[in-house]
């Protein structure tokens, strides 16, 4: 186990609003974490606290097993909300400031600018950039000095579809290099496409945390019925790709793991000498699951 970030019972109130409520979680090295939640669920506030710009009311967190400090922040590359740079300065000069702060060799600037495809615009002033370019420059800033952890807060917000695709591709490429990534997003699709682990937040509360496959790729639902409902239920409970068997009157509902078909299920049931009278598979959209997840916990 290699814990990068550990958060314990973090709380932040803005007047009556409880922006972060007793939040605890851990980030392990090498994984890509998605922090998923609707707008106002406390994602940015949580990131602002762990990046040292907002003070929590109570609770604690540690980076790399140590109390947070400016030294730990030097090993983190982060984008919080909008790209922030000195507007009158060129892309390169802006990155030089970050390099100076982090104590990184200025030679690394060329590499990160090439990674985000802004090298030929290195002398252009920040304020002349399009939003997509600003966002890419922010990613370049985060990549400076090969940090151990990258934090991206809504990295595709405000971008056009082409920009969104480019940024996602970039994040997936970075993730392949084994860098730990924390990605906050209100887009389920984004988290599902890029992350291995997910933390679902709503109104400052943690709803779920776990692997994306387990939390979000919950299997489709099946409806199944037979003359001998008890035997059917007993048999279903012993099938490894079937879970969450529930009785719903004359019909049973259960979840079937992704990749398994009703054909596979039926084969097993026939071998167990069960004749089904009804078998249907209900595709559940991830978006719907996410909303259900939020609703269940209101």
């Amino acid at each position: 186990m290699n814990t990068i970030l550990s958060i314990q019972n973090l709380n932040k109130r803005y007047g009556k609003i409880h922006a972060v409520s007793n939040l605890s979680f851990e980030i392990e090295k090498g994984n890509v974490y998605g922090i998923l939640g609707p707008n106002g669920s406390g994602k940015t506030t949580t990131l602002s606290i762990i990046l040292g710009v907002v003070q929590s009311n109570s609770g604690s967190f540690s980076w790399f097993g140590k109390p947070p400090s400016s030294e730990s922040r030097k090993q983190i590359g982060a984008i919080l909300e909008h790209p922030i740079f000195y507007p009158y300065m060129s892309a390169e000069s802006n990155l030089k400031i970050i390099a100076d702060i982090k104590g990184v060799d200025a030679n690394d600037i060329e590499r990160v600018l090439k990674t985000v495809e802004l090298y030929d615009r290195k002398d252009s002033r920040f304020k002349t950039f399009s939003y997509g370019m600003k966002q890419r420059l922010a990613i370049a800033g985060a990549l400076l000095g090969n940090p151990e952890v990258l934090i991206f807060d809504e990295p595709t917000n405000g971008l056009d579809p082409k920009g969104i695709a480019e940024i996602r591709e970039l994040i997936i490429d970075i993730a392949k290099q084994g860098i730990t990534i924390i990605l906050a997003s209100h887009l389920l699709d984004e988290v599902q496409k890029t992350c291995s682990h997910v933390l679902v937040l709503n109104k400052g509360n943690k709803l779920f945390a776990g692997k994306v496959d387990e939390v979000l790729n919950v299997a489709d639902t099946i409806e199944i019925a037979s003359d001998d409902i008890d035997k059917l239920q007993f048999t279903l409970k012993n099938i490894d790709f079937i879970s969450n068997v529930k009785s719903d009157g004359d019909i049973l509902t259960a979840n079937i793991q992704a990749g398994k078909t009703t054909y596979d299920l039926n084969m097993i049931l026939i071998k167990s000498e069960i004749i089904v009278t009804h078998l249907a598979r209900r595709k559940q959209s991830l978006e719907k699951q996410f909303l259900e997840l939020l609703n269940e916990n209101q």
């Binding site: 922030i84 000069s93 702060i101 104590g103």
Partner: protein
């Protein structure tokens, strides 16, 4: 230290508005210092008082020249206000562009951020002091009747006093910028307070007077026109300042400690 100063310099180098303001300040300061002889001529002509011409001859005499030009350059609500404005613009820009936030996220501590700004204030103050020093040397060597080394370097402690006074004033401007964070509002407060303190000074009992912050910094270099008064009324025995007083400097240093501590406290406590 050097790293922090380098970061600050990187921020300033491509910032045209800063250089324009600084050049404007420098030119104004030079015009003022070098304009003193002309001004005295003008006053002499208007008043027809021949003693003022004699005054002109001695105002640039070593060693009094150091006190005289340091006094003029550090007058309240005058030329040093431009440097105060520069400081307020620089610090409030960091808040309005949110760049202080990105500095902190990148790994600068709040203490380092403040230290960088204080080093910048010190640099600006040194720059201004050097201009006063060079102007003093030039005007002194071209006008002073005595060019003895002891006279040239005599009263040069007033340059030190000028440095301290200007630095404290800029620390005051920095504190206002950190407290209010908005450029326009902070500038208004800087001017408004300069006037409010004059009113306070008038309303409060005299014993409070030296302890008000702007008074405290201005008292480091007090009215120097020793020579003129002596000339006009030799018998008049008024207690003019002949040297920098440690008590004055002490009171002013208490204020600069307060400004810097409060600035640090605000940066530390607030969300950025």
């Amino acid at each position: 230290m050097i790293r922090l100063l380098r970061i600050e310099f990187r921020k300033l180098k491509p910032y045209k508005a800063f250089w324009v303001m600084l050049i404007f300040y420098t030119i104004l300061l030079a015009i003022m210092v070098f304009g003193i002889p002309g001004l005295i001529d003008w006053v002499a002509e208007k008043s027809g008082d021949s003693k003022i011409r004699i005054f002109k001859a001695i105002v640039f005499n070593f060693p009094d020249i150091w006190q005289n030009i340091a006094y003029v350059a550090s007058l309240r609500i005058f030329i040093k206000m431009i440097l105060g404005l520069i400081v307020i613009v620089l610090i409030t820009n960091e808040f309005s562009n949110l760049t202080i936030r990105s500095n902190i996220i990148s790994g600068l501590s709040r203490g380092e951020f403040l230290t960088g700004k204080i080093l910048l204030l010190a640099t600006l103050t040194i720059f201004s002091t050097i201009i006063i020093f060079l102007s003093g040397l030039y005007l002194g060597f071209t006008n002073s009747s005595s060019k003895d080394i002891s006279d040239v370097f005599g009263k040069m402690s007033f340059l030190g006093g000028y440095f301290i006074e200007l630095f404290i004033f800029l620390a005051f401007a920095l504190f206002i910028g950190i407290l209010f964070r908005k450029t326009g509002f902070s500038i208004i407060i800087l001017f408004a307070y300069s006037i409010i303190e004059l009113i306070l000074d008038y309303k409060l009992p005299d014993s409070f007077s030296p302890y008000l912050p702007l008074n405290a910094m201005n008292n480091i270099i007090r009215s120097p026109n020793t020579s003129l008064i002596k000339l006009k009324s030799p018998g008049f025995n008024f207690d003019f300042q002949e040297a920098i007083s440690f008590v004055d400097v002490g009171i002013a240093l208490v204020w600069v400690t307060i400004f810097i501590s409060l600035s640090y406290f605000l940066l530390k406590k607030r969300d950025i």
